[in-house]
Amino acid sequence: MLRPQLQYYSEEGKPFELRLVGKIKQQLSTDPTLHPEYPSSLGLREFTRKATEVALGKHSRAIVENQVLGVQTPGFTAAVRLGAELLRCWYDLSADWCGPVYLSSPCDDSLAGIFQAAGIQEIREYYYWDDKQRGICLERLLEDLESAPEHSVVVLSASAHYPTGADLSQSQWAVITRLITSRRLFPFLLLPTQALCCGDMERDAWPVQHCASLGMELLCAQSFSHCFGLYGEAVGHLLCVLKQNSVLLPVQSQADKIVRSLWARPSVGGAHVVTTVLSNSAHLVEWQGEVKHIVERCMLIRAILREKLRLLGTPGRWDHLTQQGGLFCCIGLNGEQVEFLSNRRRVYLLPGGCLNVSAINCRNLDYIAESIHLALTSSL
């Protein structure tokens, strides 16, 4: 029920492939230089280089000073898992570190399981989404992180928070990074839909670049499934920014060892496509155009939905619909209301009453707006 809803759906209601991606796949299938050899366990070097650049920016000091490790992984979950394994095995060795890891409330419900599968049992929450405010409650978030033990790992969404769609502003990030530094916490950033939030690769990656520019050590899990429409191809990346370049090779060798007993090496197909696009300026322009179209459609849907709810006189505030960006958005319904929607109206939401904006189109918009209205106005 849930997983299929995590994709971008076109206006026709289909998960679709970017035109450019289709073209490139055709090209690659006839490329005689591509050999069916085992890739290295850390993945295709050109891919990890590009993936690192889009997250940190080409001229990032960390890249220049050789303090960055990039590992291609078979998808986003695999990137988080690898990061979790690295932390459990090798983070803060002298203190025998074994947690805790802080996750936002709410968050992707598979995250806790991934850290636990890696052997970190202690998972805690920090306050994030406030139903009443229909947004992030920074005060309570800071309270929770203030009381976190030193060297705790904090998982933060860089952009397009799943499932709420509510992101921290740059000034909020400034406050949080100050706290992370003073409390000596370790940031693990999530960047699953880069470019799909604001249509701008750089803007969506700003938090990662900001943390790196402050000299922080961090992990960042990336996915290229959404922004390239490569859902079935499992194209992920784990970025590791270190404080000293002397630590790079040891950490790399240990990451290699962990990968070898998990999946040995990643699959290459999707990574070739991504690399091809990111390495060619003409392709880049074409790709950015298609992504912009996706982003604009999502923004339009948000605006129209907000307007429909206003016209229906649906109680509550709906400004947050257009203040957020990306594929997902939290409507702010309670458990009963969510059940009403699925049982009586067959409108299925993500946990916490969040929905995939792209799944709304001109054929179902009225019905959905009406359903939300009913959920909030019928006595349940």
Partner: protein, 415 residues
């Protein structure tokens, strides 16, 4: 307390390099014109190139041109038509177990991924709940990653079982059976379905029957590693004989299948964990737990390789074409085996060389000593594993004379 400027990874030690990759790295740096790499674990043509199977090229084109294909995430357990076709190729078209609906599959990232998911499941749910103390037996020697996979899945007690008899250059059946008899009940045994890596030495059918008898009596768990079906003898049926025999004997078992070698899809990571259960009800429950394990590992497997294999296995024409391609690879290996043995005999190289043609699959345990291996690498620029393992695919009509000559020198000059 560490100063802020210090990395919290400062105490991380450098992990030792993996022997076979280091070998390839050394080979790459070597500038000697006659260098030969007999360490690589992949198929090479007579021109020493990787080979894209013609049927794979054809199917890739079909897939790229197929407008109807959706681009959604695959289900967590993988592409359904791939899983069923993969299990069928291992167990046979008319497998009673499949007809009884007690066979399932979990698509995985290559053979390694299949082994890992199976190992994670067994550690959580076999022989009690979360019993990390269940002994896991791997052959001596075995593919060295077996140790890593089971250890990282949480098993604390990984032990060798007798397998290779260096003196006889064959299977140490007595030692093997003895270990089976002495193993604690419910121990897990990792068996190579065919083309044992690294020795190339497989039990005969009669020997498999003896092994199965003890395993059944001692209630030992069967976990097959099947990375070379079709590639070993050129016949899918023949290479799956041991698996099918065990299933017909009523064992519940796992089979970690890899399609890297027999489809040449090394870089698309196509694997399948076949699960054979007592009945459908058990199978359903097992698969539900497998799904949970996959969800926290890679969540949704990559589709490309699975689509290629699935399309091929599920189409009678393409299936025949694929079998032909596989036979081409197997035949080249068999030819190189014949020729290497013939050349060593012609050179009068001391020792017997029958094991070269008796062994099967990609690898051969030559019997060269570590000192002789060193000579081969340093003096002759012929790269092979310290164990004396060579990859027959590294041999070509162009280098086989040089390799035979090098082995001859190593054996006669170095003790």
């Amino acid at each position: 307390m560490a100063p802020f400027s210090m990395s919290l990874f400062s105490d991380v030690p450098q992990a030792p390099p993996v022997a076979v990759f280091k070998l390839t790295a050394d080979f790459r740096e070597d500038t000697h014109p006659q260098k030969v790499n007999l360490g690589v674990g992949a198929y090479r043509t007579d021109d020493c190139q990787p080979w894209v199977l013609p049927v794979v090229k054809k199917v890739e084109r079909l897939i790229v041109e197929d407008e109807s294909l959706n681009h959604e995430y695959l289900p967590i357990l993988g592409l359904p038509e791939f899983r069923s076709a993969a299990s069928k190729v291992a167990l046979g078209d008319d497998s009673p177990a499949i007809k009884e609906n007690r066979v399932g599959g979990v698509q995985a990232l290559g053979g390694t991924g299949a082994l890992r998911i199976g190992a994670e499941f067994l550690r959580r749910w076999y022989n009690g709940v979360n019993n990390a103390a269940t002994p896991v037996y791997v052959s001596a020697p075995t593919w060295e990653n077996h140790n890593g996979v089971f250890a990282d899945a949480g098993f604390k007690d990984i032990r060798p079982y007798h397998y290779w008899d260096a003196a006889q250059r064959g299977l140490d059946l007595t030692g093997f059976l003895d270990d089976l008899e002495k193993a604690p009940e419910y121990s897990i045994f990792v068996l190579h379905a065919c083309a044992h890596n690294p020795t190339g030495t497989d039990p005969t059918q009669e020997e498999w029957k003896q092994i199965a008898e003890v395993m059944k009596r001692r209630k030992l768990y069967v976990f097959f590693d099947s990375a070379y079906q079709g590639f070993a003898s050129g016949s899918l049926e023949k290479d799956a004989w041991a698996i099918r025999f065990f299933v017909s004997e009523g064992f519940e078992l796992f089979i970690a299948q890899s399609f890297s070698k027999n489809f040449g899809l090394y870089n698309e990571r196509v694997g399948n964990l076949t699960v054979v259960s007592k009945d459908n009800e058990n199978l359903t429950r097992v698969l539900s737990q497998m799904e949970k394990i996959v969800r926290t590992t890679w969540s949704n497997p990559p589709s490309q390789g699975a689509r290629i294999v699935s399309k091929t296995l599920n189409s009678p024409e393409l299936f025949e074409e694929w079998k032909g391609n596989v036979k081409t690879m197997a035949d080249r290996v068999l030819l190189m085996r014949d020729q290497l043995k013939a050349k060593l005999q012609a050179l009068g190289t001391p020792g017997t060389w029958d094991h070269i043609t008796q062994q099967i699959g990609m690898f051969s345990f030559t019997g060269l000593t570590p000192k002789q291996v060193e000579y081969m690498i340093k003096e002759k620029h012929v790269y092979l594993m310290a164990s004396g393992r060579i990859n027959m695919c590294g041999l070509t009509s162009k280098n086989i004379d040089y390799v035979a000559q090098s082995i001859h020198e190593a054996v006669t000059k170095v003790q």
